[in-house]
C-alpha cells in the first residue's frame, strides 16, 4: 500500500501542468525533434552536394570534401559542437561588426541545427556516395543514350535509383540525429535531456525523470523504425527481393 502511494505521488510529478514536470519534458522533446529534423534535412542537402562533389567534382573539390568528412568523422561530436557553437556564433558576429551592424544573438535553435547538420552532412556524404555508386551503370548509359544531360539523368535516374541502397544508411543517420541532440544539453540548449536534468535536480527524483526521458527517446526511435520500414518497402518496390 505504501509503495502504491509513493508511485502515485511520483506519477503526479510527471503531470503535464505545473507542479508536474511533464509539460517541460514534452517541450524539451519538441525542441529535440525540431533540431533533429532541421539538422537532418540540412545534413541531407550537404550530403547530396558532397556526394556529387566527391563523385563528379574536380581534384580540388574532392580533396576538400575528403578533409571535411575525415575531420568530422574523427573528432567527437561533443567537441565539434563546442567548436562550431562558439566559432559559428563568433564568426557571424565578427561579420556583422565588420559590416557595421550590431552584433546579434544567435538562437540556440539555429546554432544547434547548424551543428547537427555539419556532423550529419559528413556521414550522409559517404552514405549517398556509396548508394550512387551502386546504381547499375547500364541504367545511366541508357539515360545518356536517351539524350539526357548530366543534371537530368542525376535528377531522373541516379537519385531515385540510389534510394533503396541509401535508405538503410540514411535511416541510421536519422536515429543518430535524434540522439545527438542530447549533446546540446552540454552547451545549455534546453532540449529533452537538459530539461530532464533540471526536473530531476529540482525534485531529487532522478531515476523517475531519467527513465521517463528514456521512454520518450525510445518511443521516437521505435516509431521512426516503423516509418522507415514502410518507406523502405515503398522504395524497394520493383527491385528483386533479397533477404
Amino acid at each position: 500500500m505504501e509503495s502504491l502511494s509513493v508511485l502515485q505521488s511520483n506519477l503526479a510529478l510527471l503531470a503535464l501542468s505545473p507542479p508536474g514536470w511533464g509539460g517541460n519534458l514534452l517541450r524539451g522533446l519538441l525542441h529535440s525533434l525540431e533540431i533533429a529534423f532541421g539538422g537532418y534535412s540540412l545534413g541531407l542537402l550537404i550530403g547530396i552536394a558532397g556526394a556529387c562533389g566527391k563523385l563528379y567534382g574536380g581534384p580540388v573539390t574532392r580533396d576538400l570534401l575528403a578533409t571535411y568528412t575525415t575531420c568530422v568523422r574523427a573528432i567527437p561530436e561533443l567537441v565539434l559542437i563546442l567548436l562550431l557553437y562558439y566559432a559559428g556564433t563568433d564568426l557571424v558576429n565578427q561579420l556583422m561588426t565588420s559590416m557595421g551592424r550590431p552584433t546579434v544573438d544567435i538562437s540556440g535553435l539555429a546554432a544547434g541545427i547548424f551543428v547537427i547538420a555539419v556532423v550529419q552532412g559528413a556521414y550522409a556524404t559517404e552514405v549517398i556516395r556509396g548508394a550512387i555508386k551502386s546504381v547499375p551503370a547500364g541504367q545511366l548509359e541508357a539515360s545518356r543514350a536517351y539524350g539526357m544531360g548530366g543534371f537530368q539523368s542525376l535528377r531522373r535516374i541516379t537519385l531515385p535509383a540510389m534510394l533503396p541502397y541509401a535508405i538503410p544508411g540514411l535511416a541510421n543517420l536519422w536515429l543518430i540525429a535524434t540522439k545527438d541532440t542530447a549533446l546540446l544539453a552540454v552547451v545549455g540548449f534546453s532540449e529533452l535531456t537538459l530539461e530532464t536534468r533540471q526536473a530531476a535536480g529540482s525534485t531529487k527524483h532522478y531515476l523517475l525523470f531519467y527513465c521517463a526521458a528514456g521512454v520518450l527517446y525510445l518511443l521516437v526511435t521505435l516509431i521512426s523504425q516503423q516509418l522507415i520500414r514502410m518507406i523502405e518497402k515503398h522504395a524497394r518496390r520493383g527491385l528483386p527481393q533479397e533477404s
Binding site: P59, V79, L83, L175, R197, L207, Y210, T221
Partner: protein, 260 residues
C-alpha cells in the same frame, strides 16, 4: 583506381598548393593564437589522455565479451533469453548515451547511499566515485552496438560448417569454441575498427559526470584561461591523432587476416 594511371614521385600540383595553404593556416594558428598556457598543463593533459585510453580499452574489452553472448542467444535462443537480449540492444541503442550516463550516475548514485547494505559493503569506496559509472555505461553501450554486429556475424556463418563440425562428433560447446565463435569474430572484425573509433568519440561524455578524461582536462583549461578556441583546437587535434592511430592499427590487423 582509374585515376592512378601514372604514379609520379611528386604529389599532384593542387595537393602541393593545398598543403602549403594548410601549413600557412597552422603557422598562423601557432603564432597568432595564445599557447603560453600549454607547458603548465602538459602533466594534466597526459593524465587525461591516459584516462581516456584506459576507459576506451576496458569498455571495448568488457563490451566485446558481453556482446558475444548477446549476439549468440539472439541466434540460438532460448526464446526468453533472446527476447531479453534483443530488448537490451533496442533499449541501449534507442536512447542517448548521455542520458544513460546521467541515469546511472545521478539516478543510481542518489539511491545507493540510502541502502545501508551497499554503504557497508566493500564496493562502497568504488561506488562513491564517478569512474565506475562511466565505465559501466560505456561498456553497456559498446556491448549493445557490438552485440548487434555479433548477431549478424553468428547468423552469417555457413550452416554447412557447423553441420560438418557436428558430424565430426563435436559437442555443441566444442562447435561453438572451435568453429562458430572464431568464424563469427572473423566476420565481425572489419566493423570492429569503426565501432572502436565511435567508442573513442563517445568517451568525452564522461567528463559531464566529473571523470577528468582528456576532454575534462581541456574544459578545465578553458575555465582557467578564459580561452575559447585554443584548447578546443588542441583537443580536436588529439582526437584526430588518436583516431588515426586506431585506424592504422586496425588496418594492420585487417591486412593480416587471411582473405578468401
Amino acid at each position: 583506381m582509374e585515376h592512378e594511371v601514372k604514379s609520379s614521385y611528386w604529389p599532384a600540383p593542387h595537393r602541393i598548393v593545398m598543403a602549403l595553404i594548410a601549413a600557412a593556416l597552422i603557422t598562423y594558428i601557432a603564432i597568432s593564437m595564445r599557447w603560453e598556457w600549454l607547458p603548465g598543463y602538459t602533466e594534466q593533459i597526459a593524465q587525461g589522455l591516459w584516462r581516456t585510453l584506459w576507459l576506451l580499452a576496458l569498455s571495448v574489452l568488457f563490451g566485446f565479451l558481453l556482446a558475444i553472448p548477446l549476439g549468440l542467444v539472439q541466434v540460438t535462443g532460448p526464446r526468453p533469453l533472446s527476447a531479453l537480449a534483443l530488448g537490451f540492444c533496442t533499449l541501449i541503442r534507442g536512447t542517448p548515451l548521455l542520458l544513460q550516463l546521467w541515469l546511472l550516475y545521478f539516478g543510481l548514485g542518489s539511491i545507493f547511499p540510502t541502502i545501508p547494505e551497499i554503504r557497508d559493503s566493500f564496493l562502497w569506496p568504488y561506488l562513491r566515485q564517478a569512474w565506475p559509472y562511466a565505465l559501466l555505461t560505456l561498456t553497456l553501450s559498446f556491448a549493445a552496438y557490438e552485440g548487434e554486429v555479433m548477431r549478424g556475424a553468428f547468423a552469417g556463418v555457413p550452416k554447412g560448417e557447423l553441420e560438418a563440425a557436428r558430424a565430426y562428433g563435436m559437442s555443441p560447446w566444442q562447435v561453438l569454441r572451435r568453429i562458430w565463435l572464431p568464424r563469427a569474430i572473423h566476420r565481425a572484425l572489419p566493423t570492429l575498427g569503426g565501432e572502436v573509433i565511435l567508442q573513442l568519440k563517445a568517451t568525452p561524455l564522461v567528463a559531464t559526470i566529473t571523470v577528468i578524461d582528456i576532454y575534462g582536462v581541456v574544459s578545465r583549461i578553458r575555465q582557467d584561461t578564459f580561452l575559447t578556441y585554443e584548447p578546443l583546437l588542441l583537443l580536436a587535434l588529439i582526437y584526430m591523432i588518436l583516431a588515426g592511430i586506431l585506424t592504422l592499427i586496425f588496418k594492420h590487423f585487417e591486412n593480416r587476416l587471411p582473405v578468401r
